[in-house]
Structure formats: C-alpha cells, structure tokens
Symmetry: C2
Subunit: 416 residues, 2 copies
Amino acid sequence: MLTISNRGQQMPPSPIRKLVPFAEAAKKKGIKVYHLNIGQPDIETPPAILDAVRHADLKVLEYSHSAGNESYRRKLVQYYKKVGIDVSYDQILITTGGSEAIMFGFFTCLNPGDEVIIPEPFYANYNGFACAAGVNVVPITSTIETGFALPPIEDFEKVITPKSKAIIICSPNNPTGYLYSRREMEALKDICIKHNLYLFSDEAYREFCYPPEDGRGAGEYVSAMHLEGLDQNVVLMDTISKRYSACGARIGALVTKNKAVYDAAMKFAQARLSPPGLAQILGEAAIDLPDNYFDAPKAEYMARRDLLVQRLNAMPGVFCPNPGGAFYAIAKLPIDDADKFCQWLLEDFSYKDQTVMLAPATGFYGTPGLGKNEVRLAYVLNLGAIDHAMDCLEKALEVYPGKTITSQVNSSSLTS
Amino acid sequence: MLTISNRGQQMPPSPIRKLVPFAEAAKKKGIKVYHLNIGQPDIETPPAILDAVRHADLKVLEYSHSAGNESYRRKLVQYYKKVGIDVSYDQILITTGGSEAIMFGFFTCLNPGDEVIIPEPFYANYNGFACAAGVNVVPITSTIETGFALPPIEDFEKVITPKSKAIIICSPNNPTGYLYSRREMEALKDICIKHNLYLFSDEAYREFCYPPEDGRGAGEYVSAMHLEGLDQNVVLMDTISKRYSACGARIGALVTKNKAVYDAAMKFAQARLSPPGLAQILGEAAIDLPDNYFDAPKAEYMARRDLLVQRLNAMPGVFCPNPGGAFYAIAKLPIDDADKFCQWLLEDFSYKDQTVMLAPATGFYGTPGLGKNEVRLAYVLNLGAIDHAMDCLEKALEVYPGKTITSQVNSSSLTS
C-alpha cells in the first residue's frame, strides 16, 4: 500500500487555520467576522515599493543568485546598520519569507533527534519545521502572570541535555507581544555560551517596540546580534512581511556571522535555486523608504494596542498583560475551553450580526493542557473595527455557556 | 563546540555553480563566456504577464491561501485540460517553484532511510532534496549510446527493496533532453503498480517536445497523469519557470489525485504560510496567453537544438544524441575528465577572446565515476551565440592537453 511518511502524518495542521471553515459558514449566514485571529495587517504596503516592481525594467525574469541579488544584500547592510547590526552582504542569505530562514536554520544546525528549546507560548509553525527536520521541541513555560517574561534560567538548565542544540526566541514576540529586556537577552547569551547552543533569533517584529503602558522603561529593542561575544551562536531569522506589511512577498533573510552555518545554509539555498525575483525588487526598494516611514504604522499599532488592552482588562474576569511590541496580545478569559469558545463565537454567537475570530492559545503551547483559557488577539484591524470586535467579545463572555464566572458585575464596582 | 548538522555537511554543493568563480575570473580578463552551463533561457518572459503584475490593483500584499490563490488554481485547471490532464483545483497546490513541489513530495511520501529510484543522469538538485529529507537515491543508469532511453525494467527490478518508495522521472529530461515514449511510460506505470511505488513526475519541460531529427515519431508528450489507473501513485511536479521563461518568479505546483498525499503536503504548505504573491499574479495571467504562444519559443529551441547537435556531431570524436525535448543535450567528448576540461575552458583557454562554459556531466550521475567524458549543454542562447560557442569548443578540443584522440582529421574524410 502507498503510505504517507511518518513526518507527513505527524506534521501538525495549522492551529490558526482550523477554524476557517466555521468563519466561512458564519459569513455565509451574513455575519460580519472581525479577524483578530491572524497576523495579516491591514496597513497598506508602502506604494513606493509596489511601484518599484511596477516600474522595473524586466525583459527576462531570471533566477537570481541563490543567496539573493547582491545589490539587495548590499543595501540590507545599510538597513541593518541603522538598527545597530553590523554585518556584511555575504553574511546575509535572502530567503523565501522568514519561514525558509527558520527551515534552513533547523536543517543546517540540527540532526534528527536533536532538541530545540523554545519558551512557550511560541509561534506555532516552529512545530512544523521541527517536524520536517525530525527535531524535538522542548518547551519552557512562560506565564501570563509575568506578562510572558523570559522563564527563569534554572528552567532552561533543567531541560538541557547532550541533545540540546539551539534555543529559539522571538522578540518582540508572536504570540505574546512580549519584548525581552537587555537583562533577559544577556541571560540567554550566557546560557548559549555555557552550553554551546545556537541562538535562533526570530526578529520579524523588530520595528514595533512600544514604551510600556506605565511609562517605565524605554521599550528598547535588543537584537541577538547586539550581544557581544555571541557571533558564532546567533542565527538571525528575518522577514519583510510585517516590517513593510508585505506578507505575500515571501522575502526574508537568514543572517549569521558563523561562516560554517552560512556556507551549509547556502547549499540548501542552491538546491532551491533562488528566492522570489519580483519580491526582491520590492524588498530592495524598501531600504530607500524615508527613515520616518515606521512612525505612522508604529503609532497606529500602539493606539490599537492601547484600545485593545484597555477594553479587555475592563471586561469582568479578563486579564491581558500589556505587550511591549509586535501586534499580538494574549488574554486570559473566564471560559472553560478556548478552542470551544473560539468555535462557538463563529458558530453560535453574533451581536448586531457581527462576531470576532480569535486564535485559541492552546496551539501556541508545546505542553499539552496549557493555554486552555487563553486566546491570542492580533491587533491588525483599525481602531473602529477593534472597538466593535471588543463589543462582540464582551457580549459573548456574558452569554457563553461555558463561562467560569457567574457575576456580570464589573470588578471595579466590587471593590468600591 | 557548535556543529553543523550531518545533512548540512553531506548536502552536495551545486555541481553547476562550482565553476562560477572560474567564469568570473575569465570575464575579469576580458574574455566573453558563452553560458551553456545553466538552464536560464534568454527567451523573453511574455510582456503580457509582466504587465499583469505591473497593473495589479494592490493595496496590501497579503498572504495568499497556503495552496495558492483559488482563482489561480481554478485557471490552472483549464491549462491542464489543454494538455490532457484532468484535475480539479483542489488537487493543485501552488508551490515556490518546482523545487518546493519536489521537496514537499519527498517530505510527504518518504521516511528517512527510504529509497527513491532515479534514472541517471538526473537533475542534480534531486540529491539536495533527498539529503534534506534523509532519503537515499538509488540510480539506474541510462546510457548515451541509447540516447538516454529508459533503462530496461529488469534494472529497476534488481534494485527494488522494501525501502523503495518512489521513482522520479523527468520527461522531457533535464539533463539529457530525452523524451519518454508512451511505451516507456507504460512500463513505468506497470512497475509502480506492481511494487506500490509513487511516481514523482517532473514535467517542467512539457511544452518543449520536438519531432526526432529523422522525422520518425511524433515527439508525443506523455504525462504521468495520462496513464490510466495510476492516479493514486502519481505526484506531478510542475513549474512555470521554463514554460514562460520566468525562472525567477518561483512559482510551481504539486498536483496529485491522491488525497492523503495532497492533505499531508498541505500541512507543509501551511507551515510556510503561502507561495509568492506577486508571481502568482504573473502565473495566473499566463493562462490567458494565446494558444499559439508556445509556437515561437518552441521553433526557436528546435532551431538551436538542430544547430547544436549538428555542430557537435561534426567535431572529431564527439557524439551527441538528438534530444527529443527540453533545451539540454549531453555530448560525449574525446577528453580525459569533464570536470578538468570545463575548468580548463574557463581558466586556460580562449579563442578570439571567447570561451564556453559547460556543465560536467559527472554532477548528474549518482554512480561515482560515470559521466567523466560527458558534458551537458543548455541551448538557452540564440543561434549566433551557439555557433560562436561551438567554434570555441571545436578549437578547444584540438588543443586541450587531456584530449584522448590525436587525429585532427574529420571523421567524414576518414571514410571517404
């Protein structure tokens, strides 16, 4: 009999996309669905970079260099310099989205059976690439009570074995929005050096760091590449998807000063010939955007974050730590089961013919059973839409059959 | 110590690209290099499909569906119908080039340690994807004397083990240009059914099938999907790279009627989110090209083939079978070592300040030692350039220190 491979069977389906059929059914019933479930921003792709593709003088759309066009890599050197990362063009490998950078990192650095340590909750697709590479994911739990800060280093020490080869971090984080402090980054550096671990640093949301709600701290972005003495350990995984709201371009980069890693990753890059050509033109043009380009989207995301977090925390029994970056937040809800609740929102609930689509947090944890009363919200819609979505959620929590608090009274009135 | 993974170490470097530094050095010396070494055609990408991208009404370059835009997949159904392949849109998964289709096939259908049987010489990057997937390549030798026809089925039977899971074919073939006949395709079908093997069919060059030089036979293209009763076994790996001279687009497709394979491949597709967005617009527009679009490039390639093969066979000690399709030919040369010769052409030879870059055939064989006096020539340059390149090759064979024939006399004059 023809069989599917073990990894093909074990490969996890996307936890975010599994609710899509229920959303489609809701829309067919005439219900408007606010999509806070996926990281697809509504921010316009800068027209100037789309125009660069429109006006490109192309006769033959040829393969590019397997590492990407040299002109693009040389311009990226300037970009990285602006964010305090000093690399040369031959330390940059252009990839098909950040996804391929992650995949190349796994294939280049880890053997089947090796372990990668990831603070959870984490970007669910790390599971997929680990499965493809035959690598085991070892989660270290961060908690909503600390706002998803880096778990204590002792927790890492406890799980490190001879099979441990890498730690993956994502800061600012998807799905939590947490931004690692310099102190936390230094702690990660120490453990990577002590145990000879690669540090895979997913920095897709670099541009979106916000001052904390309470005004304390600077919202300082610290790249793994800012850490002195860690050059050989760091594999930076980057993408233009979120930076320029160009998710569909599929342009990312693997950046490393470790020449052996670069050279091996390059062989995987050669096998797939080249990254997308049209989108490299777009990526290269993005380096010429004015320095203040990010001011507007960043201010927009911050206003959305403030509204979202304020609305969530005003709901009885809801807790949402204030995220320091990216455009995600995880909220704890007074519900029995996030998967059931998110499906119920689409299948059985509407408020003024509207509902909201959220991502159950269970899909972001590696440890079974965690995240059952948590959801991830992506604040990728405008303020008006977020407000309407929060109206829906507020009403939904009042009537959801699986709610775990009975009082409808606002917590502030309880203490008055 | 930080280490590179075993597969990262074992991953073969591109056999085609390893001569690039020598070509660059030659160019720096002022020598014109005719690139017959890579399958990058000089045929213009149809302006209409580039215009479709230029005029696309895009505000946000969003993720597409992980299987590719539904509108594109629905149009591809029409395209496949025209080439006699009857599939529905949900049996088509748009991939990042044919490369990703090959990779998804390996990951979905084969376990580490499983074996894939490939008639050699074969497209060298199959080795790379096999290495990434931990799969062992078992070559079956086809020979230049038969024009690289399908080896006898007994040769397949001899190597089949319980670990054998798939056969890969590419017809018309890269690197040989051989076009499998219906009889050969039926023989492959029989063995796949008998031994429960997947048939991975790389049909990148479908549009370029030529009548044989002697006028016998029709140059009939037979797809694996034309074979009755093989639906569950066939995984078609396709690309628009060569069809529309759009190698840099990175748009391909995995097509299969085996739902379990499709569903498992879809999970790998979800992990990488979506195929390139801009290039899907280009791919979709290509379906609307007039039916006679292929007439001109096909006639052009045929004229090039005729010139190339005629020139090669007129050189003393050279033999080049006439390829039935694609835009490659393999020639046997009177030389000691193809790798040395190809490097020597770039490093130590020029004729009227020109030389030619060829691909040593050794990189296309899985069996060590084979192909040592063979080179692959890609007829991707115009007739004038091919003629000049053949002048260079002819002169080079006269003076190459490692030549294996001493007479400069033309073979036709020997028999007169």
